[in-house]
């Protein structure tokens, strides 16, 4: 199977797939909008974030520091995508 590319669309697809299979199991994918608050509405807790960052590190070969895993970078799909893009840009 081909991995999606590491551009914004590819990152978005990977993040969505992870969230839908890990946190929102059985949820209608349409409900996972790009601006849905994930942390501030309690959809993901900090352990979910640790799984998410573990996934992102492995999938995109990046290193994520603890201080980068706060709400600002992880509250929405949009925020996660921008964060990964900034990491990939070095």
């Amino acid at each position: 199977m081909n991995e999606p590319a590491d551009d914004a669309d590819g990152i978005r697809a990977a993040v969505r797939e992870h969230l839908l299979s890990d946190v929102l199991v059985g949820e209608d994918p349409e409900n996972l909008t790009d601006d849905l608050p994930l942390r501030t509405s309690g959809v993901i807790d900090s352990m979910g974030v640790i799984r998410l960052t573990g996934f992102l590190e492995a999938r995109f070969s990046i290193r994520i520091e603890a201080h980068e895993t706060g709400v600002e970078n992880t509250d929405t799909v949009d925020a996660i995508v921008s964060f990964v893009e900034s990491k990939l840009a070095g």
Partner: protein, 393 residues
Amino acid sequence: MELTEDIIRLQREVEAFARERLGGSGVERDREGVFWRDGWTACGEAGILGIPVPTACGGRGAGLLATIVAMETLGRNVDDLGLLFALNAHLWAGVIPIVRFGSETQRRRWLPTLLDGRSVAGHGATEPDAGSDVFSMTTSARRDGEDWILDGTKSFVANGPVADVLIVYATTDPALGEAGIASFLVPRETPGLSCSPPLDKAGLRSAPSGTVSMEGCRIPADGLLAKPGDGAACFNCSMEWERGAILAMHVGRMEKQLDDAIRFARERRQFGRPIGAFQSVANRIVDMKIRIETSRPLVHRIGRLKDEGRQAMMEAAIAKLHVSEAAVQSSLDAVQIMGSRGYLREGLVERDLRDALGARIYSGTNEMQRVLVARLLGLPSSLPARGPGDRPA
């Protein structure tokens, strides 16, 4: 895996230091519940507190594996585990969050004296009604102009009665749950802050713990360590390092217990033979050895992972769980092998047992480590699930 030359050199240095400056049983301090200030100062002067801290922050930059090996060496050579626990609480719950989350100004203000032994740090997360469910904390932080005002009570704060600075976790908006948590650097002399006398604990009695009360504590903006929304990450980061490293002292302690048990089992004679010739005594000693051999790789692995900049949350939980259970069992075996002598204070192993029991509770109970590992393995959370439809209004 082999240790590097640098780490072996550090190990020798720490061993010589411990023999020279941290000798004595400390039985009196345990009985009276007294903090060993001179021992603390000596550790600061010897550079022990700077081992894991990057050189850019004024530390020795030796990394976590080196620190773990140093703590193991101290656990083997220092009888006052309370002092070692206090050092660990200071490092993992105090110093590391400042290194990882602090601004340049905060690092410059706090780290020099925290690393050279002049100051002591602690952290307040647990509350009377928020233990394992720590993020249900109610200690509040509200804005007042540029400042923050903290109100609430923190329980069981290690080093609390002797701390110069506390890292306090508080909620800025209870409706946000853990996403509303922030952490603050709270100097001891802050008006409105008070700490109880040391709690009368079963073990780790020379590591004073207290209840910290905050009433209208005014913290200037530069006292904000992790901003609202980053507090849970700060706490988890601190706990990852702590769970991974704090048990290293018990690995060293288990080695000391093993050596002492072997010596005792060879010398003590009953029924005309050394007791070590009896299989039930020998089996206990073999089990003690097996626990050391299964514990050490777990803690060393955390050191290696963190030194490579990798996540070790699950590995740290596993190490914490395994080594603390091993330390309790090893202490029980050591008491049993020594018979009535093991039951006396001066035999020291009864204190090891009391000290080890705390390890099953602090840094998150062992039951909670299982909950955490289950979550990190991808098992569903035992907490009520929320979905996109449950957005707060």
